[in-house]
Point group: C2
Chain length 513, copies 2
């Protein structure tokens, strides 16, 4: 009944921010500052330019650039014109970028000066070739701003490409409603309101940072952008701009705490340090709590396909007395979460199985891959491919990627558990655990360990350390001591496939997802 409902739209936050504080700072990057009125005007003008190049409802706009205010303008101008944002992972090799662009077939490719050479090469290699525009040289001042095309609801807003390390890259299609609901869902635990200042220090081509960009705008907070993650600059920027919120992955936390003059920075403005994407070793978490006494730690669990957050462990639950540290927290309001067996039926409480998620933040699907979508989202339930269990209070423990599970002598071993045990050792800086083929056991547990500078660790030492902490069958049978940082993906996760290659450990067969 009635006409089509007006859906949630990601550009709405721009209009609302202009209604409640047009002169307030919208975006900060170094010495650059833009008010909401100016940011909004630039977006509406860039949208006119995009529309002039043919960007109408549903057209893709690829973005290949360093993080900057212009990247944010590219995000919102695309949506303002009714299009779909397709950020390019700037750490991809040219061939990977080309594959992604062929898949999403953008009408326009936006690049900055730094990436213009690659973008030129890419645009030329595509048929039909996208219009290539350089964000740094576009003159917007004289362009007439267009009205918001008012895309929203189930209209697709973004394609974020994931899983480039194995198999074909997957373009995760997320709608305006998906992302606006994620913004609403996380706003309570994060206490987001128009007085907050959010630092984006992760790459804007990943949803990890992207989801926070959308939430920051939706609630009229101020964006602070760093071109790339630099631990010293993160600390300086938090102090200078009185940043209240930041998202990191555990590796970044190690780097931040290692900054020599950490304690010289006034970090008292920080309210919530969010972490996720990889397990946080207990020692690292405790170090953060000790060094940031006024700041709450908040863990998130989720993935690109869930826009992104499924569960959160808010600051109050980091109190060791509550016994929930090490869990990923509970499902946000509105999200169905269950643990299912291989038959996709719910398992009894406490059993380990696949984490499955249903609700309005589950993706529209994988771009151009209906079969994969149908295998991944079954009767509304997103099969995450992660293994975990729930306790009687709904707290989720993520034990591992299902495909990272090691099966040794018939026992299931979750890499994360072994990695956590190794991380407990004070001389260990980084580590990764995976299975290697073994004639006797099927698979054997192998660990790669990078010692802290100045520390010496040997294989026997690591194994005996583990024996004191976890069951014998879970302990590494072999250990490689690394001399360089472990390889990382764009999302700063350790890339185990590369590790296996680098350390000449034969790759295990991996399923397509």
């Amino acid at each position: 009944m009635g006409e089509k409902q007006t859906g949630l739209r990601l550009t709405q936050g721009i209009s609302r921010a202009c209604q409640i504080h047009p002169a307030k700072t919208a975006v900060i990057c170094g010495s650059e500052r833009l008010s909401w009125a100016d940011f909004s005007a630039r977006i509406a003008r860039l949208a006119t330019v995009l529309r002039g190049q043919g960007v109408a409802a549903g057209a893709r706009v690829a973005i290949l650039a360093e993080s900057s205010p212009k990247y944010l303008e590219a995000y919102y101008a695309t949506l303002w014109a009714g299009g779909i944002i397709a950020p390019v992972n700037s750490r991809f090799a040219l061939g990977e970028m080309s594959e992604m662009l062929r898949d999403c077939a953008p009408t326009v490719l936006l690049a900055d000066d730094a990436f213009l050479p690659q973008a030129t090469q890419l645009a030329a290699s595509l048929h039909p070739a996208p219009q290539l525009l350089c964000l740094d040289t576009l003159a917007l001042e004289t362009v007439t701003p267009m009205e918001d095309a008012a895309a929203g609801g189930d209209d697709i807003a973004c394609l974020f490409y994931t899983g480039g390390t194995t198999g074909r890259a997957k373009g995760v299609a997320l709608s305006h409603a998906n992302l606006a609901l994620n913004a609403l869902n996380i706003s309570g635990p994060l206490s987001l309101n128009e007085e907050m200042v959010h630092l984006h220090c992760g790459p804007l081509f990943h949803l990890g940072a992207g989801a926070r960009v959308f939430a920051t705008t939706f609630f009229g907070c101020t964006h602070v952008v760093l071109p790339r993650f630099d631990p010293g600059q993160v600390l300086e920027t938090i102090a200078r701009e009185r940043v209240t919120h930041v998202v990191i992955v555990p590796t970044m936390a190690v780097a931040l705490l290692a900054v020599p003059d950490f304690d010289a920075h006034d970090l008292s403005s920080l309210r919530i340090l969010s972490y996720g994407a990889a397990p946080m070793p207990a020692a690292l978490r405790d170090a953060l709590l000790a060094r940031l006494p006024g700041c709450g730690l908040l863990q998130s669990y989720g993935m690109t396909e869930t826009s992104a957050v499924v569960t959160m462990l808010p600051p109050a639950w980091h109190d060791p007395a509550r016994g929930k540290n090490g869990t990923a927290g509970r499902a946000l309001a509105g999200i169905d979460l269950r643990i299912a067996g291989p038959d996709d039926q719910p398992l009894p409480l406490g059993e380990v199985g696949e984490i499955q998620v249903r609700g309005p933040t589950v993706m529209r699907g994988y771009w151009n891959q209906p079969e994969l979508t149908a295998r991944t989202v079954v009767q509304g339930w997103m099969k995450t491919g992660d293994a975990g269990h729930l306790d009687a209070e709904g707290f989720l423990t993520v034990v591992d990627r299902l495909k990272d599970m090691i099966i040794s002598g018939g026992e299931n071993i979750y890499s994360t558990e072994v990695e956590n045990a190794i991380h407990d050792h004070p001389a260990v800086l980084e580590c990764a655990v995976f299975g290697v083929p073994d004639a006797l056991w099927g698979e054997a547990v192998h660990a790669v360990v990078l010692p802290r500078p100045g520390c010496v660790v040997d294989s026997a030492h690591v194994i005996s350390h583990c024996r004191a902490r976890i069951a014998g069958y879970k302990c590494p049978k072999s250990v490689t001591i690394a001399t360089e940082p472990l390889p990382r993906s764009g999302a700063n996760k350790i890339v185990k496939t590369s590790l296996r290659a680098a350390f000449r450990v034969p790759a295990l067969e991996e399923s397509p997802r």
Copy 2:
């Protein structure tokens, strides 16, 4: 792309509450207590009963009962079975109830013992007659609980009837997404989480209380229900159950403050006292702030058609130093708010015009009234019929119902402004202002004033009091001193149409909405 998106659904909160704290108290009423596990089981069983009576997707279930835990079960069992809740205003005359029921044509009429006689009469008068079930005598223990039918998204969840005082009653159709988004929208300003305890003391047949019921469940908070508003019981209940949230209208605040042993109750658990539905006189607001020092005041503006909240003035903005008291606050995130002229075009900042609202909380429409819906929601914009203006920071001041605006000698006079001036007088307990036909001026301002017990106020006194505060043309030309409380609607608003009749003031012609 992908399959149909899984939408927001109001029953999701029940499942989530059972996942995170099945043994925690879900509902309290007097000495009655139900855990989430028990509440959920009763809902799923009552849903089975409803399904057995033919309640499937889209069937209406009318509810005629006092507020109680069973009323909440009736709400959720209807949704669980896939049906539409149609609460009956229990203050309606039988004829009005009958008109409403003819309009929504329920499959089932649920009544409690108190209303069984009326319900029996009503059911017999309808063709086809609904199945009549008595909530107080249903035996649910042996019924097999059904699975959640999982209605959600744009599926209609409720019909709340409004505007019964003039013209045909309007059934406002609200979807699951409408109401779940309102719950998400208000959760930030209210700091709703699973540790909160919400007292429902307004009638559950109005969305004012209903919207809070949905939000309370959505965030797994505890419901406390009072059968009816009784100021002494409200205070006792807050103290006994450590209530954190309550919603009142200004009249209720007067009654609460008038309880002789107000200060003897421990109200320290109260975090947020929300008010709305009618303007809060400044003196009353200041009295509340003084008497409830630990509690934040939060003003809401909205209406049934907007599910319900459009703007909020959160506690921090009640600080007189910020200069926003008297406004209704700012639009919640995700909601477009504008002031439009008679041509539905936005007016310049600061000008008074119609308040118009667009966004995902705007109703699906008026039940069975497509023409009225099309006149009320135009290109997504809900024409509220209220007059107001916005300031440069997006704060909304609601000046009046458009139709309550008095036009005298060509000047627009907003009743609220005159009522606020009269309310400033310490001897005034209640007042209402409206226009009466006048040969010279077209309309003249008339006031009805009820003095506080033991106080004497006369007409000249009221007029001179106003002259010291507002422009001469806005002051009442005539005043009636009432000796009894002014007539109230179900939502506790003064019914000006009744007043005109009671005081033999000829009714002005009112438009259908």
